[in-house]
């Protein structure tokens, strides 16, 4: 594992060594400073990437951690004579703690709401530090043994210190990327609901991510204050500081450790050099550079340079793969005809009692009760708007019921979070597919495997096994982004399977499929059922379902209208009425 990580970082080590060698030839103290700042901003960018790049929760407020680190370092030396060598690590702890403090309330919000709330923290801190009477602070100069206070007359020493910090942060980032930590974060980014359903405790992972991210930012801020000597609330908590982290990361490419490094190496020297050379003629030229960079980026490479180049390099090989795709179907449906099998008569694994949910005056689900015995395939059908998906959301914790119970193996699990339900053995897929598009099929499924897997190797194995079961093994290294609807459905199925569920909730798995595709998927589901998995499947079309299920539960207007084996239910006038209207009931009889 470690070997692999080191191997994957070889290009970084070589470039870093080259950079240090280059830095040794720089004699102009200002350019020495820039060479150090490039690295510090890269570290800060990586900190941003740790949270926002991997989870997709855009933070406009990373200056909070950076500024706290910077102020802690300077204040500790001014007031207590504590060396920045110590404060570098203390700032990491402060950053982590503030990350948790900020994360706990803020992670309740998503999307733009999260981004905007994050903006508030550095602004508040800026005013707090001004109010505390720190319009500006500088690192006191130490004349006796300056090295003990991280003070060196040669600016190149700072470049080396910064590079060591970057080195550590890069290795940490790569470890995160390669383990379930990173997988969980990327899954959250791609689709938080799916991640929850796949058994990921999203809040816990997000808190870990913001703590780690805060720690890195705090250390970056600490080192920044040492090399820049003078800090103000505006310079470390200001909007531009947060923007700096965001700009270098987005420019280089968010979600990869290369992004912030590429961004910092490109943008910081350009901006600083322009500022140095033209600053007195064109004040604010730095801002113009960042602005132009963002505009170029959004038009040419919205995901950043790294991804653009990667896509560009990968394209030819993808095209080569394409013709193979059709040849890859390994599951040949054994029998597409309806073969009635004996009704399973095991114990009851899932029991729903008096489940209700209202949205204001609308009763989406009313008093629904049913039992599911081990190994059966229960089909829940009903016209659009009957309350089928709501019922599923209530079953696995995405929504809170207004009343009722969900007994899983006899234990009441009502009101539990989705990832808890997942761990209890309830897997689910979504009506609207929720793939992690930037990940390979294999990794999509692997995310689901972390629920039970203890080690990476075990997760790999489970994922491979799940892919085997649905017949996607041969295309497992393709990115999920380019898959057909059928393959996506199968992939979602595999992801749910990777959690080793006893009960699978499938939400309109057959929707949008042609009849032959639909038959293939039905065959897979039936095979799973034969392997011992209990299946509850929602569908509003009946044809394919008749060939699949052991029993139907029919919903209309949120209520159970009937329940029973397919041959009886399909002839039930109430069912026909619910689907087709009263007129057809009489026609159907004839």
């Amino acid at each position: 594992m470690l070997k692999e990580i080191i191997k994957s970082l070889l290009p970084f080590f070589m470039l870093a060594a080259l950079y240090i060698v280059l830095a040794m030839f720089v004699t102009n103290s200002y350019y020495q400073l820039i060479m150090t700042l490039v690295i510090i901003w890269a570290v800060f960018g990586l900190s941003w990437n740790m949270l926002s790049g991997y989870t997709g929760l855009i933070s406009f407020g990373h200056a909070s951690f950076f500024g706290l680190g910077a102020f802690a370092t300077v204040l500790a030396q001014v007031n207590w004579g504590i060396s920045p060598w110590i404060m570098l690590f203390v700032s990491g702890l402060i950053g982590a703690a503030s990350g948790l403090l900020i994360g706990m309330p803020t992670f309740r919000l998503r999307g733009h709401y999260f981004a905007l709330s994050m903006l508030a923290y550095p602004i508040a801190l800026l005013y707090i530090f001004q109010w505390l009477g720190y319009p500006e602070l500088s690192i006191p100069r130490v004349l006796d043994n300056p090295a003990a206070y991280m003070q060196f007359s040669d600016g190149r020493v700072y470049t080396v210190i910064a590079m060591i910090l970057l080195f550590v942060v890069v290795v940490i980032s790569r470890i995160v990327e390669k383990t379930r930590f990173g997988m969980a974060l990327v899954a959250i980014k791609q689709n938080e609901s799916a991640a929850e359903a796949a058994g990921i405790n999203t809040l816990a992972w997000k808190l870990k991510a913001i703590a780690l991210s805060g720690a890195i930012a705090g250390m970056a801020g600490s080192l920044y204050s040492v090399v820049i000597l003078v800090i103000t609330p505006g310079s470390v908590f200001g909007m531009l500081t947060s923007a700096q982290a965001l700009t270098v990361s987005m420019f280089g490419g968010a979600g990869t450790l290369w992004g912030p490094i590429i961004g910092a190496v490109f943008l910081i020297p350009i901006a600083e050099t322009l500022h140095a050379e033209l600053g007195n003629i064109l004040p604010g030229i730095q801002g113009v550079v960042y602005g132009a960079a963002i505009i170029l980026l959004i038009t040419l490479a919205p995901e950043g340079i790294y991804w653009k180049i990667r896509d560009w390099l990968k394209k030819p090989s993808d095209e080569k793969d394409a013709p193979q795709e059709n040849a890859d179907i390994t599951i040949v449906p054994e029998s597409l005809e309806y073969t009635k099998r004996p009704m399973p008569t095991g114990d009851i694994v899932l029991s729903v009692k008096n489940m209700s949910k209202s949205f204001g005056g609308l009763k989406a689900v009313q008093d629904v009760s049913f039992d599911v015995t081990r190994g059966m395939i229960l089909g829940i059908i009903g016209p659009n708007g009957a309350g089928k998906t709501t019922l599923f959301n209530l079953l696995n914790g995405f929504q809170t019921p207004s009343g009722g119970e969900v007994l899983v193996d006899g234990v009441n699990m009502v009101n539990q979070k989705p990832h808890v339900m997942c761990r209890a053995g309830i897997g689910r897929t979504f009506q609207i597919m929720r793939p992690f598009k930037r990940m390979t099929i294999h990794n999509n499924v692997k995310v689901g495997a972390y629920v039970t897997a203890k080690t990476e190797a075990e997760a790999e194995e489970i994922a491979a096994d799940a892919l085997q079961q649905v017949g996607l093994s041969s295309i497992s290294e393709k990115l999920a982004g380019g898959l057909s609807t059928k393959d996506l459905r199968l992939m979602e199925l595999a992801r749910a399977l990777a959690g080793k569920p006893h009960i699978l909730l499938l939400d309109e798995t057959l929707a949008g499929l042609g009849s032959s595709e639909s038959k293939e998927v039905v065959a897979v589901i039936r095979k799973l059922s034969e392997g011992g998995v209990t299946v509850v499947i929602i569908e509003h079309t009946m044809q394919a379902m008749v060939a699949l299920v052991d029993r139907f539960l029919v919903l209309d207007h949120g209520e159970v209208i009937t329940e029973g084996p397919p041959e009886i239910v399909t002839r039930d006038p109430r069912v026909i009425e619910a689907y087709l209207g009263k007129k057809w009931v009489t026609d159907a009889k004839n």
């Binding site: 350019y31 001004q130 319009p135 500088s138 100069r141 007359s153 000597l229 310079s235 600053g279 004040p283």
Partner: protein, 408 residues
């Protein structure tokens, strides 16, 4: 043929020799200029005072060079290196980094108007061993045990100490009543905060003033309504106002007029006496407003003030012009003593030598104590009278008599 070639060779060598010796003489005639840095804001909200500093520096350099440059360095002339410190502390620090990196030949620098900027700049110049003269006020500048910072102005605290009793006496002499209460509105720049700190640390009590209202704001101010409303409610006898941005200084006076608040305003610093103030304000509105400043064009400098007006169109000479002008003469005096292009030697000399009475800074001598404060530094009090801010204190520099705003 051979002869011809030889002749040609000879003549070429002679020509080359001649050119060589000419260059040598020219080099002898024009010694390498001595670079003086001016690091001050010439962009952003503080651009105006920085630009005026540049005018002062340019005039000073013209005059020093006209007087023969530094005679013991072969008459080497001064050369100004202008560095924009921008409009924020971080830009100023960055500019200082560039200054010490890109101009290794600088012998000294002067700057940077705002104390906050000077604090940042000197953190860097001190480490580089570059002597810096400054007209900034903050006491903090010379409380850091730095060796190469030389504060030509009286510090904020010292200015408040000198100015407050004078102001109190003036009020009492012209109105018959000694003010009892004061409101303070200040921005959060280092110089302003230093003044206010000294006032609150006993100075107000010493002169018998009670602080009834205090507000600190971050420049630039967007709206002064609430500030002026508060002043109106508290009805102080005096308002001390400490802005550093010109627009802030105008805003409060305009609002006071709008709300018809007639409290005598005493300012600290030059922002309220810049010519720009008149662009949007009636001279009448300003009449009587006083300000304590470290230095101002005053009696005996009429020629210089006229030249400033003629060259740059400046209607009057603010501290930024006169102090920076004076800096050039102080540097000349020091260099004439050291006869060296080494900044370290210059710093040592400035620390240890008394160059006699001060001509271009009010009060005291051209010598610095061990913290870097100019010994005996005093201030000037200026007052808007008939559309011009004129020096009214000290008497030997005053061009007009002070008039208490409420006494008319």
């Amino acid at each position: 043929m051979k002869y011809l070639k030889l002749k040609k060779l000879l003549s070429t060598s002679v020509a080359a020799l001649a050119v060589g010796s000419m260059t040598a003489t020219m080099a002898f005639a024009a010694p390498k200029p001595i670079q003086i840095g001016l690091i001050a804001p010439i962009s952003g909200i503080y651009a105006r005072p920085g630009t005026v500093m540049k005018m002062g520096a340019e005039l000073g350099i013209i005059d020093v060079n006209a007087a023969g440059g530094i005679s013991c360095l072969d008459g080497a002339p001064f050369e100004l290196v202008m560095i924009d410190s921008g409009d924020s502390v971080e830009k100023a620090a960055n500019a200082a980094q560039r200054m010490v990196a890109d101009y290794p030949d600088l012998i000294a620098a002067t700057g940077s108007y705002l104390s906050s900027f000077t604090l940042a700049v000197t953190e860097i110049t001190e480490r580089a061993g570059l002597p810096v003269l400054t007209l900034s006020y903050s006491d903090l500048l010379t409380s850091r045990e730095f060796k190469n910072v030389f504060q030509t102005s009286a510090t904020s605290g010292a200015q408040a100490e000198i100015a407050l009793p004078i102001i109190m006496d003036l009020a009492e002499a012209q109105t018959g009543i000694r003010p009892k209460t004061v409101a303070i509105i200040t921005d959060n720049t280092a110089a302003s905060l230093s003044s206010v700190k000294r006032m609150k640390d006993g100075l107000l009590a010493d002169v018998g003033l009670e602080l009834v209202f205090e507000e600190v704001f971050t420049p630039p101010l967007a709206d002064a309504t609430s500030l002026v409303q508060s002043v109106r409610q508290r009805r102080p006898d005096l308002l001390f106002y400490l802005p550093t941005v010109i627009s802030d200084s105008k805003l409060i006076l305009e609002k006071m007029k709008e709300f018809n608040v007639k409290v005598p305003v005493v300012s600290f610093g030059i922002a309220i006496a810049e010519p720009e103030v008149l662009n949007t304000m009636d001279a009448e509105l300003l009449d009587g407003v006083m300000s304590a400043v470290a230095n101002w064009g005053s009696k005996g400098q009429e020629d210089l003030i006229a030249r400033l007006k003629e060259t740059y169109g400046e209607p009057w000479m603010t501290q930024n012009a006169i102090s920076t002008y004076g800096d050039m003469w102080l540097l000349k005096a020091a260099l004439e003593k050291t006869c060296s292009r080494d900044p370290i030697v210059l710093g040592e000399t400035l620390r240890t030598t008394n160059f006699g009475p001060s001509k271009y800074y009010p009060g005291g001598t051209l010598s610095f104590d061990k913290t870097g404060r100019r010994e005996g530094a005093s201030l000037t009090i200026i007052q808007w009278q008939n559309g011009v801010p004129v020096t009214v204190f000290p008497d030997n520099l005053a061009v007009a008599k002070p008039i208490w705003p409420g006494a008319k």
